[in-house]
Structure formats: C-alpha cells, structure tokens
Symmetry: C2
Subunit: 402 residues, 2 copies
Amino acid sequence: MFQILSLKNGLDNVSGFFSGSINVGLRTKPNDDGSFDGDVAFIRSEVSCDIVARFTTNTFQAAPIKHFLKYPASFKTDFILINAKNANAMTGAKGIEDIDTLFSSLKEKVSLTNPIMSSTGVIGYRLPLDKITYAFDKFDFNSQNGEQTARAIMTTDSFKKEICFKVTMDDGSSFHIAAIAKGAGMINPAMATMLCFITTDAIIPRDDMEELLGVATEQSFNRISVDGDTSTNDSVFLMANGASGNYNKEAFKEALNKITFELAMMILRDGEGATKVVAFEVNGAASIEDAKKASMCLSNSLLVKTALFGEDPNWGRIASTIGASGIDCDEDKLTIHYDDLLIYSRNENSIIDIDWEEKAYKIMKQDSFKIICNIGLGTSSYTSYGCDLSYEYVKINAEYRS
Amino acid sequence: MFQILSLKNGLDNVSGFFSGSINVGLRTKPNDDGSFDGDVAFIRSEVSCDIVARFTTNTFQAAPIKHFLKYPASFKTDFILINAKNANAMTGAKGIEDIDTLFSSLKEKVSLTNPIMSSTGVIGYRLPLDKITYAFDKFDFNSQNGEQTARAIMTTDSFKKEICFKVTMDDGSSFHIAAIAKGAGMINPAMATMLCFITTDAIIPRDDMEELLGVATEQSFNRISVDGDTSTNDSVFLMANGASGNYNKEAFKEALNKITFELAMMILRDGEGATKVVAFEVNGAASIEDAKKASMCLSNSLLVKTALFGEDPNWGRIASTIGASGIDCDEDKLTIHYDDLLIYSRNENSIIDIDWEEKAYKIMKQDSFKIICNIGLGTSSYTSYGCDLSYEYVKINAEYRS
C-alpha cells in the first residue's frame, strides 16, 4: 500500500531538478499588478534523465517536436528549453536549424546532453533568436523556481497550473512526481495550446514510463475538449532522473493518473471563456467506439455548448447530437439524465418528474455536473469532459494575436 | 439553348400550386411592426405531383420524415402541411400517429392524396393538435400566398428565402421552378434547421427528379456549414405537377442548381450571427475525399470562424486546421491564398507581398471572400462555404427556447 500527499511548490520538490524563467520581451503585456511573467524558461536535471513524450496528432508538427523526434529512440536528456508567444510551427527546416543554433549558444553557459525544446504561441513566425539567446546570460541554472516556470508557459491561461505529489510506500520509502501545464483550450492551433511537463525522482523503468504515460494521457488530456481543434504543438513530457532511488508501479500509476486528470480538469476549468465543466458519460453503447464517438460529439457540439452557457435544459440538443454522431442508437431505448435527474425516456415504467425542468435548471447552475446518456444497446461506456461556449470565448479568439 | 429569368413572388408563379399560412398561436413573438407571421402553412397542388426528397442523416429522424418514408416508393402527393416552432422529433410512435390524426381532420376540408408533413422547431414536444386543426378552418386552399408561406416557415431566420425562375427554351416553350427555404444554421438540432420546398410545373420524368435533386443538393446544401451540427428535421422536397407541359433536362438542371445554390448562400448569409460568408476552396489534394475533408474541417473550425469574425489574417489557424484534418499534406508543398493574395508558401520562387498583412485585412473586411488552399499533392478540388462565429451566435443559441 501507499499514501499520496499533495505538496505546494510543484516542480521544486522533485530532487535533482532545477527550473526558472525570465522575460526577454516576447510577452509584452504586464499582469494586473504591473509585473511581467517570464517568456523563456528551462527545466534542467542534474543527471541525464529518461524522457518519454506524447505529441499532437496534427500532421504539421511544430519544429520543436520534429527536433525531438530526430534523437535516437530511448535517448536521455538533461535540459528542456521552453518559450511562450511563438510556436515555431510552419517554419520548415529553418525552424529546426534555429533550435540547434540556440543550443550552440546555450552550451557555452551550461552542460547539455541531448537538449530539447518546447514552444507555444503564434504559428508561422521564426523564433527571435537574439531575444531568446539573451535569456541564457540571465538564467540561474541552479534555481528552483517551479512557480515562475509554470507562469512563464501561460498564454491565454488565466491561472498557473502546477501540482506535486509525494508518494510514500508502507516501508517509508518515497518519491515525488510533479507537473506544470498550460492550456486554456484543449487544443487551439494559433496558441500552440497544451503543454505539460512532468518530472519525477522515482527510479522508474523506461518501459513503465511509456506504458503509464500512455494510460494517463488517454484518461485525461485526450478526454477534454474546449473547441475540438488540434494544435501543431501539443506535447506531454515525462522526465525521470531516479534521484530518490525508490519506485512502486501501482503507486506511480495512481499518482500519475491523478496528476494528469487534475491538470486536465484545470485546463478545462480555464477553458477560454468557460463558466462550467460538464462530464458527458455515455453508457450502454453497442461498442466502446460508439460510446467514445457519442461522448466526444457531445463535448464538441456548438449547440450543446451554447445551451450549457444559457443554462437551458434543452435535452433535444443532446438527443440530436447523439443521433448525428452516426452510432447505433434508437430513440425508444435512449435515456438521458442530468446528474441523478431523469430527463428523457420512452420507457413506460420510467417516471419523468413533473418539475423536471425547474430541477434541471438548478443542476445546470452548478459549475460542474454530469450529463448521462444510456444508449440501451450494450455495455460499453466512455466519459469525456467539456465546457460551455460563452461570449468570452468568441472575444478571446477573435482578438487573439492583435 | 435556353434562358433563365428571375421572377418575383416565388411559389405563386408555378402553375397549379397553391399555398398559404396563418398564425394559430405557436409563434408568439410579433414582428417589429407588430404583425405576426404564420406558423401553420400548406403547399397544395391541383393534381397529384411526383415528389422526391432528401432528408437529414441524423439517426433520430423526426416523425414527419418517418411518416413520409412509410409511403410506397414513387408515391404521388398533392399536399404538404407545414408547421414552425415544434419539430415533432423524439416523439416516438405517438408523433407519427399525431400526423395521421391531423390528416383525418384535414380531409374533411380538402381532398388529399398521400398528404405529407414537414415540421421545424423545438425537439421533444408533441404537436399541439387543437391549435393546428384550428388552422384547417381558416386556410383558403386556393390562395397563392408564397411570400406568406415563406415567412411562416422562418424560425431564427432574419429574412424570408424565396426564389423563382422562368426557364424559356429556344422554341419559346417555358416552365417555372420556384422554392422557399428556412435555415439560419445549416443544421441546428433544436431548431429543426433547414427545410426547402421546391415546386415546378415542368413535365420532368421521376428519374430525372431523383438524379437532379441529388446533384443540386450535393453542390449546395451539403456544402454549407454554420455550426457543423445535423438536425433531426432537415428536408429538401421537389414537387413536379407537369402543368406547363414543357421540359428540357439541361435547362432544368441548371435552374435547379442555381436555385439551391442561391438558397444555400442565403441560409449562410443569414447564419446565426454571421457577418460574412467565406468560400473554402481546397485544390491540389491527393484525392477528392481529402479535398472535401480539408474543406469541411475549415468551414467547421471554431478557431477559423472566430478569426474570420475578428478579421485577423491569422493563416496559422488555416494551416493548423488542414494539418489536423488527417489528410495527406506537407508544409513544404502547401500554399494559402486569400482571394488572389498569396499568404503562405515555402516555395522559394513564390513572392509573399511585403504588405501582405495589410492587404489581407482589406480582403477580410469584405462580406464575402475566398480562402484557397493548394495542397500541392494531386489534382482534386472541393469547395465548401462557411461563415464567421460572432457574439450574436452565442447569444441566439444560449437564449433560444426561453
């Protein structure tokens, strides 16, 4: 058995990792208090780490992803350079050369083993090398400034996203796992969207890293949708330096799932203009593919999202979206619940509360709730998570860049 | 050869057809001038007509569609009953029985051969039979009130949609083809969305009707997107009574294509909250499937739609959407134009105008323009049409129903 304890100060708890950031003028808007968050940041490990990653499915992967993929399989690294405000995407071979140019300068300041880069921001512009190089003189490579680093990767995010867990086994041995993430839109092309950096001092076998990051990503970042678009830069990295000397697979799996799920919910809660988070639980589908398809169609539907914003218990839009998803379904077998409240059923033994509409309004006023659709044709289930679509979403996305 | 001439007063020009509407209290909001549009309407033919139709691909087809499909293949009809404000969808077997009940009453007032019904409005409520039956006493079944009928089928539409063409062949013989449509959202589940009623007095073979309505729908209503959702009620009907005694296949085809395309553009222009209409032309794709997929992804992307509203020439969102569409593509071969202006190319012989951004702003300020993406991998093309996403869209869809 094991215990999972939440700690403050995210990345800083993990032995052997350093991080920090500075503002070199890529981010030109100050915070409300007049301060500026960083725009160039790093995460460094004292020793070379195993690293595994999950990247966007967009065919036009950004230059930093292509640069990463040029390393041999199972390479080790000790450095991630990160920048905001420029995605280094659609920049061709030059975009990759620019990264190598940066690392040539950087290695005059600090030792580097297979350094990697991660970028977020606007698509289609070359990196401003002079500005980023300037950061290298200013970095304290031995600083532990996880919070500053979490702030430096924000774009349209309205709050920083950092988490750390200390995992303690029954024999008293322990390890840490921590992460920072950005994203306020699962996937927003022009904003380079979701990035997540996870560090751990557990001594985890590389095969487990691959397996467990896949599981964790599938049940978290792959199940949320703010706008249904997929960016050029989406990346999730897991770095393990083994510094604690300790490991337990079940414990690590649970802690990693918890971290990625909580970050995913933070990203959704921070969804551009979102006022509520909704779980779309599809049960009783004929196949897992059907359950997933229906659930994802619901979390992506504009009409469902605007009805959520309007707090209108218009279940017709839910039903119609399921019908439009192309899955096996039958209006005589479908049931729809909002939390525990039955809203739609054709079964004569089912009782729809006479005050269902009033009760549904109350449920929809919550900042999170469940919409549960039982297809009534099988045993497969899938849950995805979405948010509402507000005026603010349109404002943020119509005005972004200018 | 032939001439196509546009006529006023839509449906009323077509020999042998009658139409009209009245308000029976389903529509409770008055027009700006205090008048009320109708909410129950009819289109009647003096003689039984051939009729062909195209319906929604939504699995949960509304009751009127199921009722239509119960007739034997190639049936003839002389009556369409239409109502707004209630979709008669997700109403099960009762929804179909309600239609038969209405026709039992109606046949006491007027002779009926295989009457059909078409509904638009909110999903999930039984039809108010008493109110609709009341209309039967009030209808003048010999009236020719196409404009009133066009207004009676509106829901969130801000203007009526009617068209009529007179087609004259070189020998002086002629026929008419006319249509009314509703839709302000290609496909808006809770609004029962797009309906189109086309009448003609051409003496057209039934096989041609099937073939030509398929062609016309494919190049018009199937290529527009306001919000990417598919409703339970979408229907396009073509009725031909042969009253003119004249026909020419090429002429009919051109006139029908023109009618459906113009109605599709009207629907898009009236897209909920839309301020501009954009053609997404994808050329040079490896296959027609790829061209269509990329084009439809562009016209459905929230990020593209909000950038259009913001008049932001952020081509990164165009490129990223193509990359996310899953088609064969290569960032070194892709080019992007806004109208005639080259915005993106990696080809060293291409010249991107130094003032491209300023020129692109001007193009985007127009109320319609083209975004042309050449994939550079083949010869296949497809064009779809979309609109921008504004605050108004969110307002309309958050507030609809209440």
